[in-house]
């Protein structure tokens, strides 16, 4: 059987169409691992605040490739493949911890916190017998080391020397919108993982898709809290794969666009018994109540009122994705702010009032296109380009994703 992609051509309409085989083909998935996650893209690893002390480590993934992230004895963040040079076993089996060195449990080969192989057990044998020959070079198969950059306390890694510096990769406008959230030292509030039964790109499109927000997520509109006619915008940056959408939201008692259009999300007539949950504080001071931001291929930064989080999008096969949430506040938060963030945690995550649908919606597409590999989705809201836009009734940032994706993939 010929490789599927040989018979797969991107539709002539360009960014206005996304072919469904892109979410289905095994060989596309394999190529993504090589060209994106192990290629010229920045992988998001987590918050630097997760590793406050020298010797702290965590394990995570660059695409499917397991990696160890450490803070070494000089205080620098390091990232290397979580694979022993010897037989390829995982080096680190814990999700996080603290260590002076890392030893493979299989044959006790040891590594320093930078991923250098420092000792091979019984390398010279025992009592002159056994061991490796003098010319053996086990170091030649050492775990690969990543280039690491920290931007605003966010850790990114790439295997490629060609990937532009992180700030340039993100683009200045989107970078500025990261700075406004990561404005001071943060404290980790906790995390969880949401398992999505869909291809990773369907989630990454979903989070960039400002058009769906008030149509699928009916919480704000049912309780008359948010409408698309409110002020906001979408910024697209970098090669197209970075974006920030933002809303200046206020409690809405006027505006009947939705009712006139007969939209389901204007069902109305309901009120919250405990609306105190939504009494947010303008802690950044610019009136922006909602900001969703992404960096290709797997980073999401969220400010939903006072609920702050990073999300790491990890591919786990063609039809499966793990969304790793880490919620945070600022180190300067007082008890009242802690409590407000707890309450607003209800808005996000797998049970989030305005996010739980996303877990299902990407699966609806994955299941819906099962017999439609040769067909394509229509992505024409807001035109066919990738310009920044003052309206959120646009799919400009979704098209931006495909622009960058196709460049990496040579499609």
């Amino acid at each position: 059987m010929p490789a599927a992609h040989e018979s797969r051509a991107w539709p002539a309409e360009g960014l206005a169409r996304v072919p469904y085989w892109i979410y289905q083909d095994e060989d596309i998935y394999v190529r993504e691992q090589e060209r994106i996650y192990r290629g010229d893209a920045w992988n998001f690893l987590g918050l630097e605040a997760e590793l406050p002390e020298e010797g702290d480590f965590k394990t995570t993934f660059a695409g499917e490739m397991p990696v160890v992230v450490t803070r070494d004895e000089t205080g620098a963040i390091r990232c290397f493949e979580n694979r022993c040079a010897h037989r390829g076993a995982l080096l680190c089996l814990a999700d996080r911890g603290s260590a002076k060195e890392i030893a493979c449990v299989y044959h006790n080969w040891t590594y320093d916190l930078r991923g250098n192989l420092t000792a091979v057990a019984f390398r010279r044998g025992v009592q002159g017998k056994g061991g490796m020959l003098a010319d053996a070079e086990p170091e030649s198969q050492a775990p690969r080391k990543f280039r690491v950059e920290i931007f605003c306390g966010l850790m990114f890694a790439t295997l490629s020397d060609k990937t532009p510096p992180i700030e340039r990769y993100i683009g200045p406008e989107v970078a500025a919108r990261i700075r406004r959230v990561m404005k001071e030292p943060v404290k980790i509030l906790g995390g969880y993982t949401q398992v999505l039964q869909s291809n990773w790109k369907l989630y990454f499109e979903n989070v960039k898709d400002t058009y769906h927000a008030s149509l699928l997520h009916l919480f704000f509109s049912t309780f008359r809290l948010n409408r698309l006619e409110q002020k906001g915008g979408v910024v697209v940056g970098g090669e197209g794969g970075s974006h920030a959408s933002f809303t200046m939201m206020k409690s809405d008692q006027s505006g009947d666009e939705y009712e006139r259009a007969g939209m389901r999300s204007a069902s109305g007539g309901y009120a919250l018994q405990a609306p105190q949950m939504l009494e947010s504080v303008d802690e950044i001071g610019d009136g922006v109540t909602l900001q969703i931001l992404t960096v290709f291929p797997g980073f999401v930064l969220q400010q939903i009122m006072n609920s702050l989080a990073v999300r790491q999008v990890l591919p786990k096969g063609v039809g499966r994705t793990e969304l790793v949430w880490t919620c945070f506040g600022y180190a300067s938060d007082d008890a009242a702010m802690d409590e407000l963030r707890m309450k607003q945690s209800n808005l996000v995550g797998p049970a989030g009032y305005i996010s739980l649908e996303d877990g299902a919606a990407t699966g609806f597409v994955q299941r819906g296109v099962q017999g439609a590999s040769s067909r394509a989705s229509v992505v024409e809201m807001g035109g066919r380009g990738v310009e920044s836009n003052e309206s959120r009734v646009t799919e400009t940032s979704v098209r931006g994703l495909w622009q960058q994706y196709r460049k990496h993939m040579g499609l």
Binding site: Y192, T222, C327, M342, N346, A351, E357
Partner: protein, 158 residues
Amino acid sequence: MDVELQLTVENLLARYVHAIDDDRLEDWPGFFTEKGRYRITTAENFGRGLPLPIIYADSRAMLADRVSALRHANIYEAQRYRHTVSSTVVERIDVHTARATSNFQVVRIMYTGESMLFASGRYLDRVRLSGGDGRALFEERVVVLDSRAIDTLLAIPI
């Protein structure tokens, strides 16, 4: 062993899971005191002393809002739960209150017929023994999920 105390608490736990599994979600806030607290978290967050909840409420009103959102606002595919709760360890705190710990498993049954072990974990409860009309009520229910991973979404409470 205080048999009456044991039965009072176990009865509360049993009625709670039957209300959820029978889709009587409107009854769910009524198992809590007016200022009752409810929180779902993961064993990882709980063990590390991290406060992040998956669901959090500090009043019956917040629980009622959750039901209202599930009924009128949130979109999710039709699904049911089947809870199984272990025997419960009950300790009296004072004349009005008791602490209870139990294990649970929740099977989620989708409208397609697909069933899965959706969640397992512990209930850590503080029970008001003579709340309201003389029935026992939760002052606090902390749901500690064993896994940090949740499949697709968590709509119906646990």
